[in-house]
Amino acid sequence: MTKQLYSALFLLLCITLISDSGAASEKSVLDEINAAEDRFDSRAVPLFKQVTDERVLAHEEYQGGPFWVLARKSQIERYKCSSCHTDKSMTAQQGRELTHGNVILEHGDEGQGLLCIDCHHPQERDFLEDKKGRKIDFDHSYQLCGQCHFRQKRDWLGGAHGKRALNWAGERTVYNCTTCHDPHSPRFKKRFPATYSVELD
């Protein structure tokens, strides 16, 4: 009688143990992710397309390593600025063509928006200037933007703001601030969506 009772108890114990171990194996993908701490060499991944856009090595670090940003100077229509901004005199006719009448400044709060020389270097026109008076290259405009938009810059450095160019693997190349945002009116314009959706079946 007691023997039967013991064996029944033993069986019960076994069942509990098995079901317990079953529950323990129900791991979430988050456990797997958090357990993965070894460095992954994403540069070893064979790529079928390399970033061909012009890029420069950033003056910042990403998770302890260097990374690239897409270059900007080659994208600016009238760069180099100093080819026009000289001491030479010009006629009023030339002035009408050459001034930046097409630039619409919508940066900063209404009424107290930014002016040209808030970002552009007042003397050396081929450069930008931050509030500490440092000269900043157009290719590294993130250094300038980041002085006000420091949260966005922090996210951009980490990878939560902005985007990588072309590949998730390989050397990290990211979009510059001004690749996406027009610095003179940085908010994206309203427009129609690229397509529409139909009802699901």
Binding site: L47, G162, K163, L166, C180, F188, P193
Partner: protein, 322 residues
């Protein structure tokens, strides 16, 4: 004998049985019957047998009797890929570059979607349609963008069919697609094991093993799967020729399909088409097992949530806010 003069005439088996036949006529009838049978097998969605060359018939025959992708050796995978390329060349004169490359070691793909940044431009949707050779006739789309009221986080409360200038003030936008669940309910529902989770976390479909029963579609709580009601129609010059067997190759009629995280791109280090197309940088993609990846940064430093997390499907797709 009636069967003798015309191959296309239906064979009347009862007449054959009644007739007293010699060995010769019996064998003749048998071979014609076999030919008719193979025609019925292969004709399914590809077209008539009459127009097919012997080579095409042979390829179709081999295609019909191939194994499930997961049971194939690399040699057999290369074989089927070569056959599919040849068939596309013969039928439609298209030069495909199909691959069957395996998952990368130490990689588990994950995705994050920034609901603060998305402004509903839907460029991801058009990029996806083009990259994945989706049917233009029925307007099949893997991605849906919902226009949402503030405070709501369930897309079923949003408007998935908006068409007006975006972004609208005091609305936000939320995208859905296949979430590539670690415990994917769709793969359990499949009666033919035609859908499964690859070692790199991508849930894929073997389109040639799918019987089109749509159980997986019913099992998916995220509306992540699509069905081909007809033969997909794609303008010739818009076909993406770089394809993967489990990815964007053109699905036949009557098969299930879904987002594959652009398997043909991501296994070669490239970003999915939607991420590359996003004009606002709302989409983050990367390797979850790489502590230095962007996706890991988002999971660590941002407020994230997953849709219907309480179902225990463990999706590898997170939403986050700035």
């Amino acid at each position: 004998m009636s069967v003798k003069k015309d191959d296309h005439e239906p064979i009347r088996t009862d007449a054959l049985l009644e007739k007293k036949s010699s060995r010769r006529t019996f064998l003749k009838g048998l071979s014609i019957g076999a030919a008719a049978g193979s025609a019925a097998l292969t004709a399914g969605c590809i077209g008539s047998v009459e127009a097919a060359t012997p080579e095409e018939l042979k390829l179709r025959w081999q295609e019909f009797f191939k194994k499930n992708y997961r049971l194939m050796s690399q040699e057999e995978k290369d074989g089927t890929v070569a056959r599919l390329e040849r068939l596309a060349k013969m039928r439609d004169n298209i030069d495909l570059q199909m691959g069957s490359y395996p998952p990368l070691d130490g990689v588990l793909y994950g995705y994050a979607f920034n609901i603060t940044r998305c402004e509903g431009f839907m460029e991801c949707v058009t990029a996806c349609v083009k990259e994945n050779n989706l049917d233009r006739k029925t307007n099949t789309q893997y991605i849906r963008i919902f226009e949402m009221e503030p405070g709501k986080l369930d897309p079923s409360t949003g408007d998935g069919r908006y068409y007006h200038e975006v972004p609208v003030e005091n609305k936000f936008y939320m995208g859905t697609q296949c979430f590539h669940c670690e415990k994917a309910p769709c793969t359990k529902a499949c009666p033919t094991r035609a859908t499964w989770k690859e070692p790199d976390g991508i849930v894929v479909v073997d389109y040639d093993w799918c019987i089109g029963c749509r159980y997986c579609q019913a099992a998916c709580p995220y509306y992540g799967r699509r069905f081909n009601w007809g033969k997909p129609e794609i303008p010739r010059d818009e076909i993406t020729v770089r394809q993967h067997y489990l990815g964007n190759r053109i699905r036949p009629k009557g098969k299930m399909e879904k987002c594959t995280f652009c398997i043909q791109r991501t296994r070669k280090g490239r970003l999915p088409a939607c991420v590359e197309a996003c004009p606002t940088g709302a989409r983050v993609f990367g390797n979850l097992l790489d502590p230095e990846s962007e996706i890991r940064y988002v999971l660590k430093h941002k407020k994230v949530f997953r849709m219907k997390e309480e179902l225990g499907t463990d999706p590898k797709f997170w939403y986050f806010i700035d």
